[in-house]
Symmetry: C2
């Protein structure tokens, strides 16, 4: 041992400790040399403490420590005393340590960037030296918050009687939905495991087994083309319950969220989160995960459009399409350029263009104001509750598309008007319910499950199974927080006949269903209990709680959007010998 | 909803509940039909409750339930009353429910085997219908015990200031030790991720980052040829600490084990587990994971052998080899066949044969008694402390091999003499310390790390690095429970120069070291703290606590020794389309 072990952390000393002799171990956060007096800020996970070395009293020690620079590791022994110049910004800022003895535990080269919270370095360099990036208190605090989140999550579910059961990582590939990551088997050459996209089937089987209440914080994998907020591997809080209906699962979930907010943020949330159906959410907010920290509701003006002189509106209404409007208060001042940007955004969501109207000092202007008689314009604007100074955007077309266009514009408008920072509800919790069970895949010309094919239809819609599948609503629900889909779940099918009908509906033959999910169909025949569950995106939840918009801030060793780990350089080439053992080869 | 939700579990009702009306939900465990009276044992996770249906009082209900058979799912409403014929074997055995109303929630086909604890069905069928196998209370209890183990583990480490940090599952392949499972990357074709064999490097990097105390319960993967007690994926309790030495980590570990035994078994373990060096363990027990629930020590008789008339002994001693003896009390009665079996076992561990002596009523017999003058035989047997009726087995040869042979015979002897069931110490906890840092790989003609190449040498042996690498002891330690290696750990190298010397020593060039572990070598240059840790085999620990010898009893969805999941049929064939997307093909 070349160091003396700490007797205190760098974050704990207070005036009441004055006079105590302590040993600290930590990293040099900063060093200020005034010749005869040297100040060192020593840092560990818990905080920073100022250390003072008086070279006059202790010339030998001062000489030994003269090379010490940032990020060196030291042990320091000395007495706690009150500071002459207190630093009110840090919890230990009233005291300092007068060094009696000290030593270097390890040296550090000059790091490629400073270990400070407000680092401006590009993210690539930070990820390459992730172990140094993780020294920054702001990142460390977020990861410690994530650790506490895991803790209070398990504490809650354990107290509620949920058993933690581990499900396999090496599973069967069931190509349905996103792409699987495959793992070649060496022992069974030519065959492959798949990394799970979710433990869905296993948790349902645990219910069939009578485990009653299951939870797991578990890694899942999707080989999708990555977007900024996606990672190839991510973490899920996975929940399943037996002998329950939808309202039980939702109530259990709300109590969990309440527990987390209380324990981690000391915020009291009211139970009975608002519930909005999928149809209402699309109609009013143009999204199935609307951010309700602000308003900006969408209004339907199709009725008006049916008798409009504006041919674009009229023909849309005649064709059975819809016309929707989004009023943006005080946005009539948006410039031509700003409107063009909004138009481009609308087009990325499938709009042909972006009809708009402005009302300024009683004057109506806009992209189609000349196509409207003045009284019609007034009627239309008043249907949109437009006031002087407002901008009104319109979307025309097929219902879901028109809603989605205005949904995207609603978010952009809120960003421009900075509505989130002006909100009085910092956390918007919202259930979306009554999702469609199916959606039509135009490419494959068949129905596909919107959630997954084990989701139970709503009992009152069962009669539509053959006649109008697109209208069947599912017993599925999403929990939306501040515009993020924080969790999603459903009541599952527990009847093997209904499950087989569901497979039929999505065009899966009996043979195919048996090959892929035979074990589930079989399991449902041996006394499956009614069951359902929910899964939280753990990384997203940690993000919301840590107040960051960057998912990589709450993942210790994240990958880039191309799935690379810049620190260890994976994925990497491997020896052909390894591939030969696995019975595979690279394609030419 | 086609059922009434439970107001009580099937395990909670007691005489004090008599008179209460309750609803139970559960599975039919057994049904006994006496015509006018039907008894149904209803089962859920918490237990079994007897339900009585009187067909005379309730003819319509009786008719509705007349088809009910084992494993059907029912809801039952009725009053609790005292039983006329109590069943003292179950906690609810004093009461029963008199059915007022009830219904079938789901039916069950006749299961392929009975849901009973003492099931004799072969394991293959059980694994195929794992969801039914998991209904058996004995398996369910073991998995619930495992869940509680996870809970108390996290509770302990969280209270001790350990942060839970998730490390990646998609990592870099570093072929050193066991084989990696590889995962082809679609986005970066021709390159591969590897599933981690341990989060070793990541947890060390977290220490470099200042996380100070890390824990994780985490899946790890090794593509080894499987043995009966191995699984391709298994779970580890992974621990790492900064600013500590070996004794701190061992003390922390002991307190954890004490906490677990108290909380799960209500057993008080004394701290200060026995510590035995690797050399002593091999010498005395012929194993680095000896089961000390029984004695049977090995003795060294090389000194005697040096002057023996038995040429096998003499020439071994002259060649610098050893002669070791294992006395088995009261085993002189072993038959010729039994001795032959022991000889075969010795041979599987590299013995040429199995020299032995018996002492019966003062008479010495055995495989080489005729080669020994009587006084020499007496001296030898007394050196082994042999008494009348004893059998003494000998191993001759290179030290580690001779020890290992007798170590295997020691375990077999204990099994035959049933020593474990006669023990007074049901849990033997033991540290093995001072492992050799390196071992010589005769195939590759080089030194390899015995533990892993990040293990710190003992400071007092550092001078042997170049002169006698085989004699260097490591700051490594294993925790052995009842003959299982429950945990293993080490103090790590935190100095980049020492780490580079270690890579040199195992014949890894600077280029190779940089290519594989460059990020670690680099990280050690930026102020790495002294650190070390330990990892528990979580499945093994659960096994010991659950009192089973079958690792599949504590894994919800285990694989067979050929890596198959018999339930879902993985690994499986995949479409060539999937392989093409990944840029790989099967080899011809």
């Amino acid at each position: 041992m070349n160091f003396r072990k700490r007797t205190a952390h760098c974050g704990e000393l207070r005036p009441s400790d004055a006079g105590r002799t302590v040993v600290l171990n930590g990293w040099v956060n900063a060093r200020r040399d005034y010749g005869s007096i040297v100040f060192i800020d020593l840092r560990d996970r818990e905080g920073v403490t100022q250390v003072v070395l008086d070279a006059t009293d202790n010339p030998e020690l001062a000489a030994n420590l003269k090379d010490v620079r940032s990020e060196w590791v030291l042990w320091v022994e000395g007495a706690v005393r009150m500071r002459e110049n207190p630093n009110p910004k840090i919890p230990t800022g009233l005291v300092e340590i007068v060094v009696r003895d000290a030593g270097v535990i390890n040296r550090s080269e000059v790091p490629p960037f400073e270990i400070v919270d407000d680092l401006q370095t590009n993210e690539e360099l930070r990820l390459q030296y992730r172990y140094l990036d993780l020294r920054r208190p702001t990142i460390q605090q977020k990861l410690l918050m994530r650790s506490r989140l895991a803790s209070v999550t398990r504490e809650y579910f354990s107290a509620e009687g949920f058993a933690e059961v581990e499900t396999p990582v090496l599973t069967r590939s069931t190509p349905e939905g996103a792409r699987d990551y495959l793992v070649p088997s060496r022992v069974n050459k030519g065959r492959f495991y798949a990394l799970p996209q979710s433990p869905q089937l296993f948790k349902q089987l645990l219910m069939v087994s009578g485990f009653d209440r299951y939870m797991q914080i578990v890694k899942v994998f999707r080989d999708e083309d990555l977007r900024a907020d996606r990672q190839p591997e991510f973490t899920q809080i996975d929940i399943e319950m037996s002998f329950v209906e939808q309202s039980d699962i939702m109530a259990m979930t709300e109590r969990y969220v309440q527990h987390v907010w209380k324990r981690l943020l000391d915020i009291d949330l009211d139970l009975g989160f608002r519930q909005v159906t999928f149809a209402d959410a699309m109609n009013t907010y143009g999204s199935d995960k609307p951010d309700l920290r602000y308003g900006l509701p969408i209004v339907d003006v199709t009725d008006y459009a049916a008798s409009s002189s504006f041919v674009v509106f009229k023909s849309a209404a005649d064709a059975g399409h819809v016309v929707k409007a989004l009023r943006i208060p005080d946005a009539a001042s948006f410039s031509r350029k700003q409107i063009d940007e909004l138009t481009d955004l609308a087009k990325t969501h499938g709009a042909g263009g972006l009809p708009y109207l402005k009302l300024v000092q009683g004057e109506v202007s806009g992209s189609f104001s000349k196509n409207l008689p003045p009284d019609e314009a007034t009627t239309l604007l008043s249907a949109c509750s437009a006031a002087d100074g407002d901008l009104v955007l319109f979307a025309v077309g097929e219902w879901e598309r028109a809603c989605t266009i205005l949904g995207a514009l609603r978010i952009e408008a809120a960003r421009r008007l900075d509505l989130v920072s002006k909100t009085t509800t910092p956390y918007s919790m919202l259930w979306i319910t009554e999702f469609p069970l199916l959606e039509h895949d135009p490419e494959e010309q068949r129905w596909v499950a919107r959630h997954h094919p084990f989701t139970s239809p709503m009992t009152e819609d069962l009669h539509l199974l053959e006649s109008n599948p697109g209208a069947i609503r599912a017993r599925a629900y999403d929990l939306v927080m501040n515009g993020y889909e924080a969790a999603g779940g459903s009541v599952r099918i527990h009847d093997s006949t209904v499950q087989q009908r569901m497979f039929d509906l999505i065009g899966m033959s009996v043979e195919e269903a048996n090959a892929k999910f035979g074990f589930l169909l079989k399991a449902l025949k041996y006394g499956a209990p009614p069951h359902g569950g929910i899964a939280f995106g753990f990384d997203r939840l940690a993000m919301v709680l840590a107040g960051t918009n960057n998912i990589r801030d709450v993942i210790a060793f994240p990958k880039t959007t191309s799935g690379l780990s810049l620190m260890d350089g994976c994925p990497s080439d491997v020896d052909d010998k390894q591939l030969a053992e696995l019975g595979i080869a690279l394609r030419q």
